[in-house]
């Protein structure tokens, strides 16, 4: 079976590293692709420009506050696009604000996880994300465009 492709959308390279490290600790095979803003995320998903060869992600881990195109807008676009809406999207954000959480679910997020401030908790949470989504759940098979 092909290794699942994960698209990580986060503008903080330190968090991209931390999340990748955390997912690696889940010991569920996967490959990480990362982009640092919302516009890049959409280009990746639509295989535009330099992303013409990009794989179709089986899982998206999406931060909310992104430059150029905000995470909420990306979420809305993904979940209203018939070719993309099957992709599970996990919102991964420092925000614990009720409105942010509620809105994300309304826009169709599959899951919402807050980034813990404490390192060991952070790893524990990301490992849980990996163990569930990559080790347990069935991810939709990549669409042929």
């Amino acid at each position: 079976m092909k290794m699942p492709e994960v698209l990580l959308v986060d503008d903080n390279p330190a968090d991209v590293d931390l999340t990748s490290e955390g997912l690696a600790r889940s010991e569920c095979s996967h490959r990480i692709n990362s982009v640092s803003d919302g516009a890049e995320a959409m280009a990746f998903l639509h295989r535009e420009g330099k992303y013409h060869d990009a794989p179709s992600p089986a899982l998206m881990i999406l931060d909310l506050n992104l430059p150029r195109k905000d995470g909420r807008a990306v979420l809305a676009e993904v979940k209203t696009d018939p070719a993309l809406r099957q992709t599970p999207v996990v919102i991964f954000s420092t925000s614990q604000a009720g409105p942010d959480i509620g809105r994300s679910y309304q826009l169709g997020a599959n899951s919402y996880v807050t980034k813990p401030a404490e390192l060991s908790e952070f790893f524990s949470v990301v490992r849980s994300i990996g163990e569930f989504w990559l080790g347990c759940a069935c991810l939709p098979s990549p669409e042929e465009s």
Binding site: R85, Q86, T87, P88, Q96, G98, I101, G102, Y105, Q106, G108, N110, S111, Y112, V113, T114, V125, S128, I129, E131, F132, W133, G135, C136, A137, C138, P140, S141
Partner: protein
């Protein structure tokens, strides 16, 4: 009647139901799990009607949903939950023995939060149920609770 329900288990196979409840019990979750055997009861529970019209109508934190159900199918239950303004934010994890690609696609299309195929091997099955429960009840941040009694849908 129990206090707060955290998990709604919709499973018509008695053996599977018992097994899942046992696994949840090991995580101290059995007391807050409501099990129903068919799709119609599942919807009654979610929308606080029929046999469940007296319950304190707080949405469960997770619905574990089998697809092959009598009376109302799992996909139909999924669609009704996900097309209701208040109930749509309840996380639904499809937990099915189906290996049909189209069930997988249809579930995610209809808005299932996740889809898990029941592993055949017992140990893997236990692990899958455990990971699923812990992910959706601990790791996942629940949406703001809304009273699902507000939109009662007519029984199918």
């Amino acid at each position: 009647m129990k206090g707060r329900t955290e998990i709604l288990l919709v499973e018509d196979n008695q053996h599977d139901q018992e097994l899942i409840l046992q696994i949840l019990g090991q995580e101290n979750l059995a007391d807050t799990t409501q099990a129903v055997e068919n799709g119609s009861e599942a919807l009654d529970f979610i929308f606080c009607r029929g046999a469940f019209s007296g319950r304190n109508c707080e949405p469960p934190r997770l619905v574990l949903l089998d697809l092959n159900l009598p009376r109302v199918s799992g996909l139909e239950v999924l669609q009704q939950i996900k097309s209701d303004a208040c109930a749509s934010t309840i996380p639904v994890a499809v937990l099915t023995s189906s290996w049909e690609g189209r069930d997988l696609a249809a579930s995610y299309q209809l808005g299932a939060n996740s889809y898990i195929q029941k592993p055949v091997e017992l140990q893997q099955f236990r692990e899958a149920v455990r990971r699923t429960a812990l992910y959706w009840l601990v790791t996942n941040q629940r949406p703001v609770a809304q009273d699902t009694r507000a939109t009662r849908q007519a029984a199918p």
